[in-house]
Symmetry: C2
Subunit: 411 residues, 2 copies
Amino acid sequence: MNIGDELLIGQVVNTNASWMADLLAAEGIAVERIVAVADRDEAIRQELERSMAGAALVLVTGGLGPTRDDITKATLCRIFNTSLVFNPEAYAMIEAFFASRGLRVSELNRMQAELPQGCLPLPNPQGTAPGMWFEKEGCILVAMPGVPFEMQGIMEHEVVPRLRERMDGQLILQRTILTHGMGESFLAQRLAHWEDTLPGDLGLAYLPSPGQVRLRLTARGTDRSALQAALDEAVHGLQARISELIFGYDRDTMEGVVGALLKHRGQTLCTAESCTGGYLAHRITSVPGSSAWYLGSIIAYANEVKIKQLNVDPLLISTHGAVSEEVVCAMAQGARLRLGTDWALAVSGIAGPDGGSADKPTGTTWIALDGPHGTLAQRFLFGNRRDRNIHMAAMSAMNMMRKQLKGSATK
Amino acid sequence: MNIGDELLIGQVVNTNASWMADLLAAEGIAVERIVAVADRDEAIRQELERSMAGAALVLVTGGLGPTRDDITKATLCRIFNTSLVFNPEAYAMIEAFFASRGLRVSELNRMQAELPQGCLPLPNPQGTAPGMWFEKEGCILVAMPGVPFEMQGIMEHEVVPRLRERMDGQLILQRTILTHGMGESFLAQRLAHWEDTLPGDLGLAYLPSPGQVRLRLTARGTDRSALQAALDEAVHGLQARISELIFGYDRDTMEGVVGALLKHRGQTLCTAESCTGGYLAHRITSVPGSSAWYLGSIIAYANEVKIKQLNVDPLLISTHGAVSEEVVCAMAQGARLRLGTDWALAVSGIAGPDGGSADKPTGTTWIALDGPHGTLAQRFLFGNRRDRNIHMAAMSAMNMMRKQLKGSATK
């Protein structure tokens, strides 16, 4: 359960819930329900009491900050019929946190050492509010701060190890197959007959997001090796049917897959971006260690930058327009020459909302890949939403690089 | 309520919930609870029946897709004690969607025109599954697809206009003040005395996220002009106390504010990025129309790109290191000269996880701004998380530009 008015008025996206659910799924713990409620005593209490009645584990985030709108602790006292007391162990944690940053503990932060009597404080090395572990009538309740990396540290180092000690035999095994290049409905039609042959304890879910559809296989039961064998067979089935669409598995990302391929070959990449405006470079460099295969980019938002920094012939721009096969190929060639890499990806498109025409509607995007064997280019027509077009263009560009490195240049 | 196993195993972040909550807050509709449940009939039914008993409006997303794991419609039939019937109005909507893309309706998609009897279908111009509007015993229930932009289109064009017709006199007015440069606890201490003077019908919440703390003021009541006056006075109070930290209001973004200032002055900006790897350029170009003030960037991830594309003297790099005041100033100057802009921002830092040293720990970041009056540089020490460091560096760089354009160069 995630507490905070900010969740209910939409100012904050509930990434804590998805992060926690992901971690719990990997531990084989099924999440029954995710609830977000306001910073109001009654709403919090009602939800917590309902959750504790039906679940063996209730995780709560938020409302533990030092400011007045944070009321979770008072509500927990009411639920456990206890009161706040100064907890020396928790105070030592807070003091250590400030000392490591060369700061003294403020009066507001000192109050964070006042915890409901009877709870176990959990160290929070990333922040000032300790986690709290409660047990009552067979249910475990853990309250943590809402700041994502503080909650994550407490979950990984304190909560999960304690939960592992208490697990029974129920298993959930999952495998996710990542695809790019075909929409959900068409993929589902293509796989319908095969889906009919899956055993009953195996579920298949389609998880579409811009630029990819993830296929998640879930096996439930108690016999680990039987579940694993069933999962493996289903994965092989998918590989046989849609191999050209699969770019990775589970936690893979397109940028991670492309980076690993480049690293393995000892080759380097640079980019030249117009409409993606740095997003492609950002995705590629979001992989730690990417400086081993990625040298840099020329973001040529303005035409004069394309001309001066990428050697694009101004005549090409005036004849064909900046969004054209000719210009995008020249951008890739110019970037590869200037930055001295093995490969160069270039993107030029109309991200929108303005700039489209009957001839080249918003979403029209040219992508080129220049490399040791010449230049490839492909035209895409995405849609009319700027952020989505930028995202789709970056995914498609990276996929073009991936297919080339895989030795398969089929669409 | 948001339906989908993917939410409960953490594969998808529930951005629908926050988007909807944000829209409803702007309409003065208070969200009581956000719940995510699995694609299971019993779980969906239990939550829907509980929600309908306590709320005047229940919005449901997800589980309307054409694939087999989508079961929401069958559950809605059970709740409303009805059955699926072919809805010609809905089929016309689906047919129009495919026709606009030059496609025929597949058998799977034809099934999406089968809706629970008695519901009102709502057009979904972005996708194949129509929305559904139900009313029962004073409660409105709207079911929509889970694909974000499909849901958003239905909410904006169909749901909100219908809800506006039915509102009573209760008002919620809000104002959010966006700050950068001070952490939540220190800000709260600085504002504590002032906070005591706020009237009772006015609430203040601190909403921290990397690189900013939002201060949200909420006024509740029935007299719009009195609420507005109280809000305005509180905003003036904050402006008098922390004006140097305020960069915007409500829906403003740092990149939007910086873009508007540049546009107003008729000036241009370029960037030179090392550790941010294109993220700064991406943020700046995420603003529609940014080509009016932003010309491009040299992403100099490798030192040879700093030397060749940004004219950085190799001696500066070997003497001071790539993460130094000398190199970041040279990067800014080189970019401004090469791209011919009024201003150039440069960033060089150690994003991590590797690359830190005792002298320059991970998170060390130099940011420089070169302009008509010379070069400013500032050192920042963020933390040890790569994505957060990249984010903080981009925010701090844009804020440096903002302060310069505002004519205030105080920290």
